[in-house]
Symmetry: C2
Subunit: 140 residues, 2 copies
DNA sequence: TTTCGTTGTAATAATTGACATTACAGGATG
DNA sequence: CATCCTGTAATGTCAATTATTACAACGAAA
């Protein structure tokens, strides 16, 4: 099982807007060409990013723009914005047998550990900002 | 997107074998009753655990047994054994536009960071052994 | 104000993976 | 050899992802 590509597509999209706004009209179609997905996919992701206050999208005239300094957007923020993982990363089998001492307790035993693992991953995503990435991009 | 429940089912299964072998015949059907899944699911997971040297399963006579000290089995080992995540946790969009400076470079920019996040999660799983869990189980 | 390019969003389909379930051949043991 | 089991293939269902078409609403410019 993999985390949906919405996440990497969203990061890609933000970097592309940053790179091209000013020189090009960053429409969903333009962005879709860089990412190589359907423009509708980009529009939906832009909606999520807009809801998170990261971009501004103009309805009629077209074009998306960065609405927040890149150094204030971490990979974790994007990950959250596009909702890659609803709630828990690990999937529990729902109905262990309550009449079994193991079944009755697995959930409690594991929950904390699994949450810690997920948090460790998420904290690692917090360490990178989009500015870090933009700075490493060769000049357009 | 969630990581398959095979992982938590496998941990549950190992703990159940540990708890009941000696007092009960730990057949796939018996274990399935504790976890509350189909016995075939258990048999398939037992195959993975056997391949990883964690259990021994007897073909004709029935019953699974722990084949390795619980303190030598970490959550990470189980996670690996059942192959929750084939390779990379994060899913990349496969064909970004190579003619775009962003498309050409996103992969390289992100790969290291995403791998670090995944590793952080996996390292956290290494911190818990099945013995830790078994010790916290109320006596059968 | 009409036109034109874009966004926002619904509807639909294709694809994929998980999990359940049935079925049965082939061990092991009394 | 009769009886439990395991090992595994085949099939079905369900949910989530992504692609794609279609179109109403919107904004700016002619």
């Amino acid at each position: 099982m993999k985390i949906t590509s919405r996440f990497t597509v969203a990061v890609h999209t933000l970097l592309a807007i940053h790179t091209f706004e000013g020189s090009d009209k960053t429409t969903s179609e333009f962005l879709a060409a860089s990412v190589n997905v359907n423009p509708v996919v980009i529009r939906r992701i832009l909606q999520s990013l807009k809801a998170a206050g990261m971009v501004e999208v103009r309805a009629g005239s077209g074009g998306a723009h960065i609405a927040k300094p890149l150094e204030d957007i971490t990979l974790y923020d994007v990950y959250r914005a596009v909702d890659c993982v609803e709630g828990e990363l690990f999937h529990f089998h729902e109905h262990p047998n309550p009449d079994c001492p193991v079944g009755r307790n697995v959930h409690a035993l594991l929950d904390g550990r699994l949450a810690a693992a997920q948090t460790a991953m998420e904290n690692e995503l917090r360490r990178t900002t989009l500015k870090d990435l933009a700075d490493e991009l060769p000049a357009a």
